[in-house]
């Protein structure tokens, strides 16, 4: 009788699986396919760039296409721009496909196009800088006497950050040295919301004591007394975008539990407009770059207001439960105004406005039209993607979460939407059409907030399970696990220049993370 070999042990099996995973066969492109004609289009304007070019299929990968396109546009060696390519079919279904690695595997192999056709590729420039994943805790700063409820980085640089806390103060931190700069004392109850003005000069704080206060960001002094008017606590703040501000008269919108939104004149400290119309607590307010204010409320609606007259333009109804959070596709450019990655600040105020407007238009232009998309997260476990400019109906319904969706963000390049839910998952969606891309699994508690890095390649999420996690958007994998907080992490923010991540939570310590 021949000897029967025992079945492989678990260790052997895992070893084999590991080996198979590592030695996955390299997807090669057959080299007998000849060449294919490619026509480039600018995603922003929709116009063709250069003539159609014949490209050998074997060499038609992203890297070579980038080089080709840079040459076509006449970019010098030192100003090469990385691009993302998408293919849009001309048929009725009008589907769009991202080119992930090369043309062969994305288009030719699935049979969408053949080498006979001319392939039209739409390109969008990607961030020319790259943000490194934060990997260590640079500082854990004690100071607050109670849990930290909100945090925001200055749009100017990553060296200052403000946090609002349950001990009724807000504190400004020097993140380079990990030391406190100023304590903003004045509120009589928890500070629920903090926001830097787009030029980084003023900090606004909203509190449980129904008032909003303004502070000088440099000196840490109070600018006048409290702005009173709300009957209940403040739930959110939004500054008027820099390029639509009247010169010398910036405005601030504050959303409150008393179901109104008040717009304050920051200089004269008076109420400019009161937006009333919601029937429930207003949870979130966003000020768009085209002079519109978007508000979400517990009464299941999202309302769009004119910021000049204070009139209601639209009511967006689709949600079946309270709306928790809103995100605009242009949030990032509006927040940072004229501060870009080069850190060059225009000299005069007029130049600043011009620069801010240019940045906004550059980011928001799709097919020669300025489009501002809106995504709303709700307690009905779904999200909706809206284009309020064109329609009252949602563009897409984003299904997949299994519990309330608490937080939603657009990536700075508007290509992705990330949503954090109480079902322990962070989900990634396509920012263009709302299609589901991937789920980031790893948290073992409810995920409270998430934030993209400035180059849209990384995402950080904060959770009830006391950790922060950094995710790689491209691969959909965990890039870095950041344990360290001793309790729930309520607030997280990634600095606009991508250097640092600041977080705070129930353990009363502010933590600053860097690479």
């Amino acid at each position: 009788m021949s000897t029967l070999l025992p079945p492989p042990t678990k260790r052997q099996k895992t070893e084999i699986a590991e080996k198979a995973r590592l030695q996955q066969e390299i997807e090669s492109i057959p080299d007998n396919l000849g060449s294919v004609r490619v026509q480039f289009f600018d995603q922003a304007t929709g116009s063709a760039t250069g003539p159609a070019v014949s490209v050998p299929v074997a060499d038609a990968n992203i890297k070579n296409l980038e080089t080709l396109l840079n040459t076509l546009q006449g970019n010098e060696d030192d100003e090469r721009v990385p691009y993302r390519f998408t293919y849009q079919s001309q048929d009725k279904d009008n589907q769009t496909i991202d080119i992930l690695a090369d043309l062969y595997h994305s288009l030719l192999q699935p049979g969408l196009r053949t080498t006979e056709d001319t392939i039209s590729l739409y390109f969008t420039p990607q961030a020319v800088f790259r943000v490194k994943a934060v990997s260590r805790c640079a500082a854990s700063i004690a100071g607050h006497g109670e849990a930290i409820l909100a945090t925001a980085f200055s749009p100017v640089s990553s060296s200052t950050m403000v946090t609002g806390s349950g001990d009724s103060t807000a504190r400004v931190w020097d993140c380079d040295t990990g030391t406190p700069l100023h304590t903003l004392k004045g509120h009589t109850s928890w500070v629920l919301a903090v926001a830097y003005s787009p030029n980084g000069a003023i900090i606004a704080t909203g509190s449980m004591d129904n008032s909003v206060r303004l502070w000088d960001a440099k000196k840490g002094q109070s600018l006048g007394g409290p702005l009173k008017g709300h009957a209940k606590w403040i739930t959110g703040l939004a500054w008027e975008p820099y390029h639509v501000q009247e010169t010398g008269r910036p405005r601030l919108a504050s959303a409150s539990k008393d179901s109104t939104v008040r717009i304050w004149d920051v200089v004269s400290k008076r109420i400019d407009i009161v937006l009333s119309g919601h029937k429930g607590s207003v949870t979130c307010v966003r000020w768009g770059g085209m002079g519109k204010i978007y508000t979400a409320s517990h009464d299941k609606t999202i309302k769009v207001w004119d910021a000049k007259q204070g009139t209601l333009i639209q009511t967006l109804q689709a949600h079946a439960h309270r709306v928790n959070h809103l995100a605009l596709s242009t949030d990032f450019v509006l927040r940072t105004a004229y501060h870009d990655h080069t850190k060059k600040v225009p000299e005069t105020d007029a130049d600043k406005v011009v620069a801010a407007r240019k940045r906004f238009e550059q980011a928001a232009t799709v097919n020669n039209k300025i489009v501002e998309r809106l995504v709303s997260a709700s307690d009905d476990f779904t999200m909706y993607l809206w284009e309020p400019e064109s329609s009252n109906k949602p563009v897409a319904r984003l299904l997949g979460h299994q519990k309330e969706v608490n937080h939603v963000t657009f990536s700075p390049d508007m290509a992705y939407i990330a949503s954090a839910g109480f079902d322990n998952h962070v989900k990634l969606w396509n920012g263009r059409d709302g299609k589901f891309i991937t789920t980031f699994r790893g948290h073992v508690g409810a995920v409270y907030q998430c934030c993209f890095s400035a180059d849209s390649r990384l995402l950080v999420s904060s959770s009830k399970d006391t950790t922060l996690k950094v995710w790689n958007v491209r691969t959909g994998k965990l890039s870095m696990d950041l344990p360290g907080h001793k309790d729930e992490v309520f607030a997280v923010d990634w600095s606009p220049d991508g250097e640092k991540v600041g977080s705070g939570g129930k353990d009363k310590a502010v933590r600053i993370w860097r690479n």
């Binding site: 739930t235 539990k257 360290g484 309520f490």
Partner: protein
């Protein structure tokens, strides 16, 4: 598999009878008739016992109905804002007011090495073997050699315990003195929660008692804290934690313990 779950085992292996649901339904439907008949016709001591049982059952039933009604009532008063600071997005949510939803802030303060051995009850009174064990002398052979012992203290018997043949059985752990749950107090929160016992880690009296699972004052037991939702600093869920028994279970009829944090 626990020894007495032979019906469940059979059903797992062979499935239920085809008319199982029908029979259960009918039995339940007949139950009230049987109860009524018993209540009317029983006489003497049986009637007395029966009425006592019904009385207790009815009290339980009323309590349950009342609890159900209370649960359904919507409180008209506005929710009291919580005392602990919460971010805006958690403010209007009905928090799980369950005492079991503990904060993990107070949870794992990593103690230094010395503190690891500091327990709430450092010393216990010794218990002699005579007190712990009763000699069983039923049957001729047992009587002659007197090698069988009955444990007179409460014990924890694991779920997977299977009895050995009575002829070879040296220790008897009486069914009436077995415990599966402990009332565990979190010392810093002052919250008491009933949690299942996983195992007996150490009985300070005698290593033999540890292996027998005897629950006396000062015994360290491992309890299942998964429903408390504790998380380690690295973000993993904690499920087993040690607790020390703080009462004399044989006197009180329950196991009270203090969580070791």
């Amino acid at each position: 598999m626990p020894q007495n779950e032979y019906i469940e085992r059979w059903q797992k292996q062979h499935g239920k009878r085809l008319d199982h649901d029908e029979r259960v339904r009918k039995r339940q439907a007949r139950e009230v008739h049987q109860q009524s008949k018993d209540a009317q016709n029983l006489r003497g001591l049986r009637a007395k016992l029966y009425q006592q049982k019904r009385h207790a059952e009815k009290i339980q039933m009323r309590k349950r109905i009342k609890a159900q009604e209370e649960k359904n009532v919507k409180s008209s008063a506005p929710d009291e804002p919580s005392k602990t600071p919460l971010p805006q997005y958690l403010l209007d949510r009905s928090q799980a007011t369950n005492a079991k939803a503990l904060s993990s802030a107070i949870k794992d303060k990593r103690k230094e090495q010395a503190a690891k051995f500091a327990v709430p009850l450092p010393k216990v009174k010794g218990i002699s073997e005579e007190e712990m064990f009763k000699v069983v002398n039923t049957g001729k052979k047992t009587h002659k050699k007197s090698w069988k012992r009955m444990i007179t203290k409460p014990t924890f018997v694991g779920n997977d315990f299977t009895r050995v043949n009575p002829k070879r059985e040296r220790f008897i752990r009486p069914m009436g003195l077995r415990y599966k749950k402990a009332n565990v107090t979190h010392p810093e929160l002052g919250v008491t929660v009933q949690l299942p016992i996983i195992s007996v880690k150490k009985n300070p009296q005698n290593p033999l008692y540890t292996s027998l699972g005897v629950l006396t004052k000062g015994t360290i037991v491992e309890v299942n804290v998964s429903e408390l939702g504790l998380v380690t600093t690295s973000g993993r869920v904690v499920w087993g934690k040690y607790a020390q028994i703080s009462n004399n279970p044989e006197n009180d009829g329950c196991v009270n313990a203090v969580l070791l944090v």
